[in-house]
């Protein structure tokens, strides 16, 4: 016996919008309904999970322009998947729902809180796909001049994951208060919360 999952490859984004089977995707993809239908179908079919991809950029590497990206709706436009999750959960009873979060986009406290909330709202059916983001264009939307190199991204992600995990453990199962070690997120500190250049040290 094995398990089945569905990779929602373009996240809470545009699905095929023309052709015979496009339905109302062209105008209605920003609404949750299509994804609610998908999730109820997957649950009926016995899937373990729905896995929602995410990115935060309009890519313009190809030909030095966003024309192709936006012409076909490739990776953009796209909505934030977090608000979608409780709606998918409300329409189903069993299937797991995993959402993507990037370690360079989310301060760890916000991510930890958001995921705990989703786990409450879904009755314990939420999952998180932790990514480090791959392009300069994403990094530039979050205060960096260019993206961190691969090794540094993963070092940051390791610490991010440690912090998030510690926050999740900071309430005992029986809700007695436990002190967490003072957790510093892997972002440069200073008078502003903006993520500044990657060279600055936390």
């Amino acid at each position: 016996m094995f398990r089945l999952g569905w990779f929602l490859g373009n996240g809470f984004g545009m699905q095929p919008w023309y052709g015979e089977w496009a339905g109302r995707s062209m105008t209605e993809w920003t609404q949750p309904d299509l994804y609610v239908d998908l999730t109820t179908s997957l649950e009926r079919a016995g899937f373990d999970l729905l896995f929602i991809e995410d990115t935060s950029m309009v890519e313009d590497t190809y030909g030095g322009s966003a024309e192709t990206t936006l012409k076909y709706g490739l990776m953009a436009p796209k909505n934030d998947p977090v608000p979608l999750v409780p709606l998918l959960a409300a329409a189903t009873e069993h299937i797991g729902i995993a959402v993507t979060m990037s370690t360079i986009q989310y301060p760890p406290y916000l991510a930890a809180r958001s995921m705990v909330t989703l786990d409450h709202l879904t009755g314990g059916r939420a999952g998180v796909n932790v990514v480090t983001s791959v392009t300069h264009r994403v990094a530039q939307n979050f205060g960096f001049d260019k993206h961190l190199d691969h090794a540094e991204r993963y070092a940051m992600a390791e610490e991010w994951m440690d912090v998030v995990s510690a926050l999740w453990e900071s309430w005992d199962p029986d809700a007695r208060w436990a002190l967490v070690r003072r957790a510093r997120p892997p972002v440069p500190s200073g008078p502003s919360p903006a993520l500044r250049s990657p060279e600055a040290e936390p």
């Binding site: 545009m14 919008w17 023309y18 062209m26 920003t30 609404q31 949750p32 990115t55 935060s56 950029m57 309009v58 322009s65 966003a66 024309e67 936006l70 012409k71 076909y72 709706g73 990776m75 953009a76 436009p77 796209k78 909505n79 934030d80 977090v82 608000p83 979608l84 999750v85 409780p86 709606l87 409300a90 986009q105 301060p107 406290y109 916000l110 809180r113 958001s114 909330t117 989703l118 409450h120 709202l121 009755g123 530039q140 939307n141 979050f142 205060g143 960096f144 001049d145 309430w171 208060w177 957790a183 510093r184 997120p185 972002v187 500190s189 008078p191 502003s192 919360p193 903006a194 936390p202």
Partner: protein, 434 residues
Amino acid sequence: MAATPFRLGWFGNLTAPEWRTGWSNDALSWTDARYYVDMVRDMERAGFDFMMLEDSLMVSDIYAGTAELELKHAMYAPKLDPVPVISMLAYATEHIGIVGTASTTFYPPYLLARAFSTLDHVTRGRVGWNIVTSSEDRVAQNFGMDELPEHDLRYEIAEEFVEVVKGLWESWAPDAIVADPVTGYYADHTKVAPIHHQGTHFSVRGPLNTPRSPQGRPVICQAGASPRGRDFAAKNADMLLCIPHGLDGMKEYRDDIRLRAERFGRDPDEIKIFFVVAPIIGRTMDEALAKQAAFRADKQRNFEAQMVHFAAIMEIDFSVLDPDQPIPDDVTTNGHQGTFEGWKKVFGGRTIKDAACDMRVASMELVGTPDHIADEMDKAMEYVGGDGFMFLAQPTSRQYIREITEGLCPALRRRGLIRTGYAHEHFRDNLRSF
């Protein structure tokens, strides 16, 4: 005399609802948010303009240096993240506006712009963003800072933050999506532009990857009380929530905000001001007065809880002050400055304990039958000029919500004081519809 209609909102928290009185079965189950789904449906049926969700990002342990009492009384924590809850509330309703709080000091602006743009899509144009700058060092310490930036710097950061998110929301032109199967173009890249923001506090390239939302940008809500906060609100907000003291305080506040808005070149009618109230409602005046007496007695017994609340948001450890003396003059806060000055004024020379036990977080006292309170609200709005009230109960209960929605609201509607329906699809249009 013809009544001038006004608006209603609810100052909500995603915290534990009433769990001590026995009239509640939500003490543990509230975290699935169905309690709030029921609450927002009650409000839409009753004709509310919006439900607001306050937010904070900490477990406070200022009072006596421990989180014991904060958690004993379940005050600011535990609490859910409002962002995913907003879409649940929206899916359960059709017309009411839903306002979520998010801090400009701790959210990356791109993340916030994208989340609220998505929520505007998911709510079909019914979302609002309540802008806060946060007021506690304990929050700062969850986000890599030793302490909070000082008050005016927070507002400077907030100004730049708002400029960035507004830029991102504008980065898709209204006609950017063509969705033309013949040419094969979904979106026109010449109408989606980076913002290239390089400022003092933020560097954000853009464009947003979420398309322009139904309202263009969410309804902007704010609660500025200090002079700096008032200017910020008058410049940026579609709606304000505030707790000035008494009818004259309410009128002064509203007139002042409207004047400031004009100085920023805005039509003051674009800004709707909501005064926080917490009515105590009975079937008879005697019943209401008895409830009020019980409420005060409870405050006396739970004096400590009131002090924990003060300590959490002012970050002053009230446990070291003598409760039988007035607040010493040299006590100041970097937190809610407007609120703190207001308290000092209300406290006067009274002892901390005396004053705190009598205090309610409300602009005016409303105690009585639904009809009596409706008349009082009518008179207040006539004197102040507008624009509405928002209810605050901490903690909320199903019973109290129903007293408002099924008791007070019908009395207000019989007088023609609140809306009977929603003329428009979008939250901002409904706010401005009268």
